[in-house]
């Protein structure tokens, strides 16, 4: 296919050609970035939590009046929950992944450090590792005699009584690698406030209850502290047991003490669903905009293509009369569109890169991987070719006799 005649024709239609190029460029730039953001959101929604989500349920209760002996009642609650059929493990805990409420602390590796090395969340509750189905990959779980009551620890901290404060901790793999890159974390020491803690175990993953910064999402510690705050994690035997166990657990808990209010009763799957609802909405909206953009662009190409074909009927007739085949005419318009699309795509890539830079500065987005550029290019080439096919076929159908007629 000879490109030179096409170029010389395009030169006589500068404005129209320019508009098509700009439209394709803008569409390409926006779609590359939108698809990138969509993928980011999907990755976020697929975030590993480190707990056995399909078998885990969570209940949160609060007292109506002043409560008397919370510790004794917690033991009673736990014993009752364990008896429900289909329940494998239970724990009274302080926070749950995707629960949006967390207690966090700065971590230091050296007491002389002025700034914390990182900030991590503190999970606590006896039997938490088993009840959440978290996978231990190094070292051991916390031992029963290492646990202390949370309220006593708080009192000890206020009185600076180091003996009554935990001295062992289990941390996540991500946190271990961040603190001691390339080494085993077992036996290493970290500090919360002025108190040293020895790492005795490492879990594969345990995501924080609330995530402000995706890079710090897995900085979690499990402390040997007993909780009596009416928050229960229940691991069921199979996912199918969840609904029944949840209902039975609530009935049991109400029976033990009717003077409390249920604040939350959810499966972990539901918690995850709610946690990412904004990401899901954003991804959906972006998909909608991408589709609309492609439709508008395609319709624009159809419209302009039709106009060009109508304008050049005479010219096409002359070419046909001079021996050009239908296929020649078809190819002519397809090549023309391909040329315009290519220039538009090249321009669009530059714009996509620029927009990505802006988003990196203003919305803390990472750099767009290079793979988006060829994918975006192919997509727009296909859209362009599909859109021009109709007008091009109509052009190919122009009979040679048109050349002999005056308009």
């Amino acid at each position: 296919m000879d490109i030179l005649p096409i170029l010389s024709t395009l030169r006589r239609h500068k404005i129209t050609a320019f508009l098509v190029i700009i439209e394709i460029a803008l569409t390409c730039a926006i779609i590359c970035n939108a698809v990138f953001i969509i993928n980011q959101r999907i990755d976020r929604m697929n975030m590993q939590s480190g707990v056995d989500e399909h078998r885990l349920v969570y209940i949160e209760l609060a007292d109506i009046g002043a409560s008397k002996d919370e510790k004794a009642r917690t033991l009673e609650d736990l014993a009752a929950l364990r008896q429900i059929s289909g329940v494998e493990q239970v724990a009274s805990i302080n926070e749950i992944p995707f629960g949006n409420s967390s207690s966090n602390s700065g971590i230091k590796l050296d007491l002389k450090q002025r700034l914390s090395t990182l900030n991590a969340t503190m999970y606590s509750g006896e039997n938490l590792v088993k009840a959440m189905g978290t996978q231990l990959i190094e070292g051991r779980d916390l031992l029963p005699d290492e646990y202390m009551d949370f309220d006593q620890v708080v009192r000890a901290a206020a009185a600076k009584d180091a003996k009554q404060i935990p001295h062992v901790v289990v941390i996540t793999q991500t946190m271990a690698q961040r603190l001691w890159p390339g080494q085993s974390a077992l036996g290493k020491q970290l500090y919360i406030s002025e108190y040293p803690l020895t790492v005795v175990g490492v879990v594969r993953e345990l995501v924080r209850p609330s995530i402000w910064d995706d890079s710090a999402k897995s900085y979690s510690m499990i402390m040997p502290m007993r909780e009596a705050d009416g928050r229960y994690a229940i691991l069921t035997r199979t996912p199918g047991d969840r609904e029944r166990v949840l209902a039975a657990a609530l009935a049991k808990l109400k029976e033990i003490n009717p003077r409390r209010v249920v604040l939350k009763k959810v499966t972990l799957d539901d918690l995850r669903h709610d946690f990412f609802q904004n990401d899901r909405a954003m991804a959906g909206l972006l998909v909608g905009v991408c589709v609309a953009l492609l439709i508008v662009t395609a319709l624009g190409i159809v419209g302009l293509g039709s106009f060009w074909v109508a304008q050049r009927r005479r010219q096409i007739g002359v070419r046909r009369a001079l021996g050009a085949t239908r296929r020649n005419i078809l190819n002519y318009f397809q090549t023309e569109n391909f040329l315009l699309a290519t220039i538009g795509i090249a321009l669009g890539m530059l714009m996509a890169y620029g927009i990505n830079l802006l988003l990196m500065v203003h919305y803390e987005l990472p750099r767009m991987p290079a793979i988006y550029f060829p994918v975006g290019a192919v997509l727009l080439w296909i859209i362009g070719q599909l859109a021009v096919l109709g007008p091009a076929l109509r052009a190919a159908a122009v009979p040679p006799v048109v050349a002999t007629r005056s308009v």
């Binding site: 404005i15 129209t16 508009l19 098509v20 700009i22 439209e23 803008l26 569409t27 926006i30 939108a34 953001i37 609060a62 007292d63 109506i64 009046g65 002043a66 207690s103 602390s105 700065g106 002025r114 700034l115 914390s116 949370f150 620890v153 708080v154 009192r155 901290a157 206020a158 600076k160 406030s193 003077r259 209010v261 604040l263 709610d274 609802q277 904004n278 909405a281 954003m282 909206l285 972006l286 905009v289 609309a292 953009l293 508008v296 662009t297 319709l299 624009g300 419209g303 302009l304 106009f307 109508a310 304008q311 988003l359 919305y363 308009v407």
Partner: protein
């Protein structure tokens, strides 16, 4: 002349329905998407208290120890109990209120209604007058009630409807946790947007259902919700929150003139120096006094996603406009013959230009109507979303007018280049080739 041009425009648009529909659709889609996101942005970045927001300020002090200190750090975004009480008692502003959020168990007197937890605000007495909270029945409490830890409560209209069937409930008793509280006021519908006075509790959440004096809430040991930041040995011990090295309260002050603002800032510096001399503050004096709107900016209350969506929609509008420019160009240039005849018969370039612009204006108007319908659809979709601000997404009159201005303006802009190009036609040449 205008009506003649309008008639010409309608005829011309009717001649090529497909192309016209394409143009109107492109404008409508662009306008619809832009108006949907702009409306959400407009609603979310609005002024929660128009008229008074300029006189409300949020003092920030630096009470932390030297651990982790770096010069130029922003002071904490909340305040300690001791500093809050000192500033409150000093009464250096025209009005001031110290507050925090929480949740309290409500025990309805009616049989058959289960106890439930309600969001609550624990605050000092100026809250209602300073934030111009509307009352349906009764009123707020007095400074004396604050001092006496009075068992009084102000409830929202929603809670009043739920518990007392919407009747005037002032004087009635409401059981909160283990205490009997006297209802002294019922608020009228009140939902400041954003929830500016405590951005820890959700930026666009509803106002609380229960308001009790801050002192009473401590006396009753009501649970505190929201963010608590501690340093040193602080943390965990809610029973002694008053003396803990933790920030967990919000303090607002009303200052009616610029001179008072300057004086207040000076007072805060003086106060910090005093506390430093006493040994309570360790870091260099670092006070800030942002106004309400500035405070919302600092806290980035408008979600980043919403801004991103707005940019996206505007980008989409630009693509739609470029598309429309191309289509109009095609349409106008196809009519060079007709335009040549008009020019030859004595129409000036200017008149032809006006005629074509009116045509693009008509397209813009039609696109505006379509865009409005799409915006209603878009906002309806936004309202289906689970976000806390979703229910706020409604088109108001100013946005309605803006839709049409944007649509017509955008299509006139899109029509400029094609119309100008079409005017350049030399009438003689056109007539000859016919």
């Amino acid at each position: 002349m205008f009506s003649y041009y309008l008639d010409l425009a309608l005829r011309s648009l009717g001649r090529n329905k497909m192309l016209t529909a394409l143009m109107v659709l492109a404008i409508a889609l662009g306008i619809g998407a832009s108006m949907t996101t702009l409306t959400v942005l407009h609603v979310l970045s609005g002024d929660p208290l128009p008229g008074t927001s300029g006189t409300l300020f949020y003092p920030q002090l630096e009470p932390r120890d030297m651990d982790g200190f770096e010069p130029g750090m922003e002071p904490p975004r909340q305040i300690t109990w001791i500093d809050g009480m000192n500033l409150l008692k000093a009464k250096r502003g025209d009005r001031q209120a110290l507050m925090t959020g929480g949740a309290v168990p409500v025990q309805p007197a009616q049989s058959g209604m289960d106890p439930f937890y309600s969001d609550a605000r624990y605050t000092s007495s100026d809250f209602f007058s300073m934030f111009q909270v509307p009352f349906l029945y009764g009123r707020g409490w007095s400074a004396a009630d604050d001092d006496n830890k009075a068992r009084v409560v102000v409830i929202s209209r929603t809670l009043n409807d739920k518990l007392f069937g919407g009747k005037d409930s002032t004087g009635q008793t409401l059981r909160l946790k283990e205490g009997a509280f006297r209802v002294i006021g019922v608020l009228d519908t009140w939902r400041p947007n954003p929830h500016f006075y405590d951005v820890n509790m959700g930026n666009y959440s509803n106002a609380e259902d229960i308001f009790v004096p801050l002192t009473t809430s401590r006396d009753m040991r009501f649970d505190h919700n929201g963010s608590t930041d501690c340093w040193g040995t602080g943390g965990g011990d809610d029973d002694h929150a008053e003396t803990q090295p933790c920030v967990w309260l919000q303090f607002w002050v009303q200052l009616d003139s610029a001179a008072k603002v300057a004086a207040y800032k000076e007072y805060l510096e003086h106060y910090s120096q005093e506390q430093k001399a006493l040994g309570r503050f360790e870091r260099p004096v670092n006070v800030r006094l942002p106004g309400l709107m500035e405070w919302l900016d600092i806290n980035k209350v408008v979600p980043g996603d919403v801004k991103l969506q707005t940019w996206l929609a505007l980008g989409f509008l630009v693509v739609c406009l470029v598309n429309t420019v191309g289509l109009m160009l095609a349409k106008f240039l196809r009519r060079t013959g007709e335009l040549g005849v008009r020019r030859a018969l004595g129409a000036s370039k200017r008149e032809v230009f006006t005629q074509l612009l009116i045509e693009s204006g008509v397209i813009g108007l039609a696109g505006g109507v379509g865009g409005l319908l799409l915006a209603f659809l878009g906002l309806w979709l936004v309202r289906l979303q689970p976000s806390s601000y979703a229910s706020l997404a409604h088109l108001d009159l100013s946005m309605l007018v803006m839709t049409f201005l944007l649509a017509v303006g955008a299509s006139l802009l899109a029509g400029l280049l094609p119309a100008w190009r079409a005017c350049q036609v030399a009438p003689a040449l056109q007539l000859k080739s016919q």
